[in-house]
Subunit: 452 residues, 2 copies
């Protein structure tokens, strides 16, 4: 059995949904279909989810929702008409939206969530109706039937019993159309997953039914070995391990949300990233173990927007608990960090700059000085992290040298190097302005065909 998930652009219009039907029909193993809300049809278009957020805001502000509701319905109506579905499904969707708008708004976040999630929910109903109308027996299944998530206030995740209950879907004869992005808590509260939420739903279902494959349909042919906006025509990745995919998830690899990998990774269901608009392309497979290629490096990613907290204190390494206390101060500010390279008397904590503000920085600096008696402490901003990833790096002795050498030839200074004992990744910290140049240099070093 295959679970397939179609992203927003894949279900943005009648034309796109026809492609989806034809993909699902072409392989009888494709029994569970997870769908997003209709996305953008053109780069300037507005996603249904954004229209729904507008609608919810209007409802909360002054109750004048008619126009906003009409905008949402216009999208569904256009799709329904294009699929020759008639008025009935539109009435179901309109009634559903009106009911959500009337709901209790005492918890604003939950109220908005319920309206947002209608995008996926109603699109699933519409697509199930369409499949049935063209002779592909299909059934809309609500996340109420098993996708049980935790209660507030922690961020949403599926409970273990969700997997047990959803396993029953494996026995279906009809095609199941399941909305992505949300589940229900045991007390009946609709809760949405964070960004990339439909990918997570597909992953949970794939794990629950122990699918042979989780096909993730999007609008690109594959995952590239480097960001194609920076590197010209990068090599396509045919196979990549879960671990490599995770390490690359910094940036330029946002095609598949890394949190969504967890459920399938745990039970070993392979993922296939495919293109709705070019379904015959093999795509990129994410697997536990992959065949070796000639290259030690699978991909290179880069991301900007990092800050470094630098702390030095004489005889720091003699002080049991120094690092722990420093990290505790960051934890008190709810700051997560990426790496903590250190010398004997200094430690640098690398974190995303978005987590900082002048006020937060001042608080941290004061605490580090007053509580840890540091000699020096300061924040430095404007760094990029470049990550080189590959299972083949583990036994490749000259790789760090090649990478460092390629970087130094650009004239950039290496501010930080971090290589853990896992050796699947090698991280370089550099000044932001060198990021693209270095990505190009590293790509040339590890991927470009040698020309004599």
């Amino acid at each position: 059995m295959i679970v397939c998930k179609f992203g927003g652009t894949s279900v943005a219009s009648a034309e796109q949904i026809k492609k989806v039907a034809s993909i699902v029909e072409s392989n009888p193993a494709r029994k569970i279909v997870v769908v997003s809300a209709p996305g953008k049809r053109t780069p300037d278009d507005i996603k249904v989810t954004d229209l729904l957020i507008d609608l919810a805001d209007a409802a909360l502000m002054d109750g004048a929702v008619t126009e906003k509701l009409a905008a949402v319905m216009a999208r569904y109506r256009a799709i329904a008409e294009g699929l020759h579905l008639g008025e009935e499904i539109c009435q179901i969707i309109q009634a559903d939206l009106e009911e959500r708008l009337q709901a209790d708004a005492s918890n604003v976040e939950l109220y908005v969530d319920a309206i947002k999630a209608s995008g996926e929910d109603n699109n699933a109903k519409l697509i199930a109706a369409y499949f049935t109308s063209i002779g592909m027996p299909a059934r809309y299944v609500s996340p109420r039937e098993g996708l049980i998530v935790n209660e507030l206030p922690e961020r949403t995740y599926a409970l273990p019993e969700a997997y047990t209950q959803l396993a029953a879907l494996a026995k279906t004869d009809e095609i199941i159309v399941f909305p992505g992005f949300f589940g229900y808590s045991a007390s009946g509260v609709l809760r949405t997953f964070d960004r990339g939420g439909s990918d997570i739903t597909g992953s949970i279902l794939s794990a629950a039914v122990r699918a042979d494959m989780y096909e993730n349909f999007t609008d690109v042919d594959c995952v590239f070995s480097a960001n194609p906006k920076v590197v010209n025509c990068p090599v396509e990745i045919k196979e990549i391990t879960y671990r490599e995919m995770r390490e690359l998830s910094y940036a330029g690899f946002s095609v598949f949300h890394d949190e969504a990998l967890m459920p399938v990774f745990k039970v070993g269901v392979p993922v296939n990233i495919k293109n709705t608009n070019n379904p015959s392309a093999a795509g990129t497979k994410i697997v536990s173990k992959r065949a070796t290629t000639g290259r030690p490096v699978t991909g290179i990613s880069a991301d900007s927007g990092f800050s470094i907290l630098y702390v030095s204190k004489y005889l720091m390494n003699r002080e049991v608990g120094f690092g722990r206390k420093l990290l505790q101060i960051l934890e008190d500010e709810n700051i997560s960090y990426e790496h903590t390279p250190s010398g004997l008397d200094d430690i640098s904590v690398i974190m995303r700059s978005t987590q900082l503000s002048d006020e937060i920085e001042a608080r941290i600096l004061r605490r580090v000085k007053e509580e840890l008696y540091a000699d020096d402490v300061e924040f430095r901003h404007g760094f990029s992290m470049i990550v080189i990833v590959g299972e083949g790096m583990r036994h490749n002795t000259g790789l760090a040298a090649r990478a460092a050498s390629a970087i130094s030839k650009t004239g950039a200074n290496i501010e930080m190097i971090n290589q853990g004992s896992s050796e699947v990744s090698l991280v370089f910290g550099v000044m932001q302005k060198y990021e693209n140049q270095i990505l190009q240099a590293l790509y040339a070093e590890f991927f470009a065909t040698v020309t004599a």
Copy 2:
């Protein structure tokens, strides 16, 4: 004013003490002399400190101390005779030792400490008597006169008031001979410093009197840029910053105890490592800022006996507090660590293996699994850390590449790289068996004269 400290081999015999006198006499600025207990005269000799430990053990076991006491006295007597000092000083020393042996032994550690410390204390009395006898007016000063240390049970350190009180010594006309290695708490308890203790006493006195220079006399001409037991005729270091010295203190650089640097570092008194047996050699100066040399690297040190705790957990980097909790578990076992390189989903904690045992490892592994829900956790042993140090590394773009390249040419795999944002050091983790080979390769890369 110069504070000079003479180590155990520099005061091991009458002949050596004559050299000390001649060194002190040759520069009238040398007003404070810190001395160790008599050390080894030949490689097979026994240090007085070890004879004293034997004596203390005998006293604690059965009280039969006559023979052990005679062995200690024989050393002093030989020195006194060689210096033509007569019997009086020997009687003073014998009486002092007998008094210490009669002391309350209810706290065994303090009892042993007091007997051990007599080695420095009595040697200072003897040397002061000798200086005076040859027309160099000198006065023995007891650490009771100002070297106030903290009370039990924390490890010994000098209290701030020690510096205030000892500052008075700056006004001396005579040469002051001060025993290294110990101080007294406010309640009158004699407490010894950890290893390298006489270096610490010299450093405290230098800081207290704001000396122009702290001369540390030992039995080597200088600090070498690499361990001369591994690298053939390494370059001598003429000047090195406090920070470089600290970063190099892993191994092969044990000539000056790194904790002893702290007091002089704080007030900026330069240190000069010199050789008692070759006082005209310039030695190595440890300073705040040094003149630049042609080389980016000042020294390379290496040390074996490291273990790595490897922990992996899917989505670790999303979990605020993971690293802190992991370090807390190590702290609960009172384990200090060197570095914590990390990937997105894994973290390695590098620590000295001597801190571990099967039992401790099992406890840590269990807690990391049960409390942090780690996917994988294991200890790996048999690693060496190679540290390349130099203030000039900061702005040298190709250095990491050169180092990694030199290592990879030995065929060794780089298990870990750690470069903090301070950029004064670059640390490589490698398998122990490659340590010497890599040290030689790195030395050749950064120090050897280029031969075409």
